[in-house]
Symmetry: C2
Subunit: 246 residues, 2 copies
């Protein structure tokens, strides 16, 4: 089996995929990260088809994205991914995002946990060969995800109940939906004037169909701390660093 | 310029893209239809880049999808599209959906209107060459979109206000968001037991950021009529034919 240490997928941003500013939405960046991670894992023999034979699946645990700019309509771009490290419970997978001219426009870091679908707890990957996890020592010059402190009691507060289109094949809420819920906190005019320079998204507890969460947001300068809470428990934590859209 | 009369794009359904039943969601079928239409139009020189020079863009006006089954996780599938007819205001574009073995699993019909972005009214495509619209006489054995009658006063009723992630580059609500809003009317258990055999979706008036719509739904047997209404005006009409999930 040929096991590529890195994997690249090229895309062109279609008009229909673009946001209101004609740029690649952060939600699509997140979808592409999940897609190329999936494709690389499949190529390594550690994808959905291999893991499901042991009732295991990859679940995204942490996601950090830093973009200097976002592709515009009809622009080519590519995502390159590689494994930075792994152990028998999780794997750290990084990404470099290039524009059509080959210039770097962003990086991302992810942490994936192997989940046992029967027990809904962390699985053990020891049964899979070490060779299936070839690590690469490529540069990913962005910090790892920070700890997100508890939000202040005066944080803004709204609630949302998860519905059919929010749910994925794991029967929990899709990663991208959490992000949409957070980004929807701000009006269109804010997004017309700002980009997300950096996003950190931490998945603590999965949410399911019919559950209601509260979105808490606290903004200080160009940084917003966000939390999706189920009762008193943090399900999702997020930190957004905004930059003016130039 | 080489102008292909038909265009095919092959895909594999990833786990992350699948719905709660491990199948291709109807929303993704819709995204693929828009994507391959875009790619074919680009190849014909009548895509976003060509039309925007005259401040024109394609806007989906009607969409009908009939599926006998939906691809499952890791299954290959393809969308083939061709132009059935066109005139100086709109174009009828059809689709055949094949599974990995080459068997037909669905068809779709779309009507696209050329919109003048300055006046927000129907544009005139006379300036584009006839050769840019090569029609093909391929089979698409599903009926055209029906008229959707007014919903009864006792229709179920809920409201929704459009937010940032609902808005696309035309600065109106994305096609897929309307469909999500409609599909979210039903609980997960309904979708676990049924598939959408046929969808008709009619776009009468565009919706924008911050607007509130009422979703009306009236179900009789295996058929649901739906409407997204702005005040007394129908913005979107939909008809869904359900089939038991076997």
């Amino acid at each position: 089996m040929n096991r590529p240490t890195e994997y690249t997928h090229k895309y062109t941003l279609t008009a229909g995929e673009s946001n209101a500013c004609g740029r690649m939405p952060l939600t699509l960046v997140t979808e592409r990260i999940i897609e190329v991670a999936t494709e690389h894992a499949n190529a390594l023999g550690i994808g959905y088809a291999a893991l499901i034979t042991r009732n295991i699946g990859w679940v995204l645990s942490r996601l950090s994205i830093e973009m200097t700019r976002y592709p515009i309509i009809n622009e080519e771009y590519s995502f390159t991914t590689w494994i930075e490290s792994y152990n028998r419970h999780f794997s750290e997978r990084n990404f470099a995002i290039h524009d059509g001219s080959g210039a770097i426009i962003g990086y991302a870091r992810t942490v994936w946990v192997a989940m046992d679908f029967a027990s809904r707890t962390v699985a053990d990957l020891t049964a899979f060969e070490r060779e299936a996890f070839p690590t690469a020592d490529l540069p990913c010059p962005i910090p790892k995800a920070p700890r997100i402190s508890p939000l202040p009691p005066e944080a803004e507060n709204e609630s949302y109940t998860f519905r059919y289109c929010d749910i994925d094949f794991n029967r929990h809420v899709n990663t991208v939906r959490y992000l949409e819920l957070i980004l929807n906190h701000w009006p269109l005019e804010h997004h017309d004037r700002h980009i997300v320079r950096r996003l950190d998204l931490m998945f603590h507890h999965e949410c399911r169909f019919g559950e209601t969460v509260r979105l808490l947001v606290s903004t200080d300068g160009d940084t917003s701390l966000c939390e999706l809470a189920k009762g008193s428990e943090r399900a999702i934590g997020a930190k957004i660093c905004w930059a003016p859209l130039s």
